[in-house]
Amino acid sequence: MTLPDAETLIQQLADIIRPDMTPNMVLVGMHTGGVWAAQRLHPLLDAGMPHGSLDISFYRDDFGQKGLHPTVKPTHLPFEVEDRDILLVDDVLFTGRSVRAAMNALFDYGRPQRIRLAVLIDRVEDRQLPIAADYVGAALQVPATQHIHLIQQENKTLMLKLVNL
């Protein structure tokens, strides 16, 4: 299967998010692909909007099976979460478990007024939790034996890649 161009998806996402923007909005990217996507979206939406990054390693539900992720990255939210309108960004929405973990993590920083989710790729058929994205770049059906990875190239542009498990 051919994957869509990540940079085009970023542009499309920005276009559908723009009408819904509020003055209270902040951008939060999920490590690692979501952080890259949020960095690309940020200037397209509003370069003055506060933005941060979230690592969900401490909130994952597979710690008991897999242990701690070997490369945990610090969470960096340089704004109050309390009462904010949060736009959460991830590269691929798959089982929904990462988003569940991200919401739990955010609530330990405060009570947001609202959380909306933007993803480049939605693997709609593979959901394991009642979670849906508000903004989707492209919806795809991907065989269970394959993963979609977002790659940041040297010039900071993004590319999607299919990986066999």
Binding site: F58, K66, G67, T71, T75, V81, D108
Partner: protein, 317 residues
């Protein structure tokens, strides 16, 4: 299991008993993970759910306030249940052996033991004895090792000096009785610090100290010249048997860190101390409370480092 009882067949950390023999990447992984836990400690809710439902036993056969408290805080911020036992005052005085105590606590479904013991090797013995799903952290055994203190010291150095490969570090004081010094020396050399010095009178140095890859100084002014980090050790009064020193006043005169002696180090040198401090014995209050002292940040970082160690161990089941 091979030579290192701390590592499993895949090289993952099962227990933390000593820094000696741990690969650099393991130390770096702990320091990097601790960096993320510093961020957790700045959250509004200073807690993450990683160790929910796990039971961590603080087994302290020797008194300690700071270490036990920071382990307790660390475990609670990981959402574990913490049980504190000061065994010196309990079963041991009734004649129960160490391993019987451990077996009883394991029967209470312990997942991790944090062990402080006056006898070198106590934590190793417990680690060899317990069932495979139980993890052991050495919180100080005799003169042997205090790995989490060594790691939090490395974390503190990295925070202020950002890298290890260009540093000169002086460890000053009672190296002979200090498990902290041993752990620091192993950590510093493993992390690639090119010059580690120990500064002490002959009577407070182990005879084989030079074999640990350190430079030995008996004169403090020479030992501190141009160093980036000064680590002051506590004069271990309670461990001192026989007359190794004429008096604490004389010790302060030669080896107490005063602003004048600190001036020999680099101007941006940091001063560390594992605590508890004997003011006026190994350190002058003007230094302890001065601008180069990072002694209180060490305590704060100790929580994040212990959270990192406990969560990495608990994840390697």
């Amino acid at each position: 299991m091979g030579g290192n009882p701390q590592l499993d067949e895949q090289g993952a950390l099962r227990h933390l008993l000593t820094i000696d023999g741990l690969p650099r990447q393991t130390l770096v992984q702990i320091l990097d993970t601790a960096e993320s836990f510093v961020a957790v400690n700045e959250q509004e809710v200073r807690k993450v759910p990683l160790l929910r439902g796990k039971a961590i036993f603080n087994l302290f056969f020797e008194p300690s306030t700071r270490t036990r408290t920071t382990f307790e805080i660390a475990a609670k911020r990981l959402s574990a249940d913490v049980i504190n036992l000061n065994i010196g005052t309990s079963s041991q005085s009734k004649g129960e052996t160490l391993l019987d105590t451990v077996d009883n606590l394991a029967a209470m479904q312990a997942d991790m033991f944090i062990v402080r013991h006056a006898q070198s090797g106590a934590a190793h013995m417990i680690a060899r004895h317990v069932a495979p799903h139980i993890h052991v952290v050495n919180a100080g055994d005799g003169r042997h090792a205090h790995p989490t203190q060594g790691l939090l010291d490395m974390f503190t150095i990295r925070r202020y000096k950002s890298a290890f490969h260009n540093l000169r570090v002086a460890i000053v004081g009672d190296v002979l009785h200090s498990r902290v010094a041993r752990s620091q020396i192993h950590a510093l050399t493993t992390l690639g610090v090119p010059e580690v010095r120990v500064v002490a009178p002959k009577t407070l140095l182990p005879v084989d100290v030079a074999q640990m890859g350190v430079h030995v100084f008996h004169d403090m002014v020479a030992g501190l010249r141009d160093v980036d980090v000064v680590i002051i050790l506590r004069l271990q009064n309670e461990r001192m048997r026989g007359a190794r020193l004429p008096s604490t006043q004389e010790y302060f005169h030669y080896y107490g860190l005063t602003p004048e002696k600190l001036a020999c180090a680099k101007p941006d040198a940091i001063v560390m101390h594992p605590g508890p401090m004997n003011r006026g014995v190994e350190i002058d209050s003007r230094v302890a409370d001065g601008g180069q002292s990072v002694i209180l940040p060490q305590v704060t970082f100790g929580i994040a480092v212990r959270m990192a160690v406990m969560s990495i161990l608990a994840g390697n089941s």
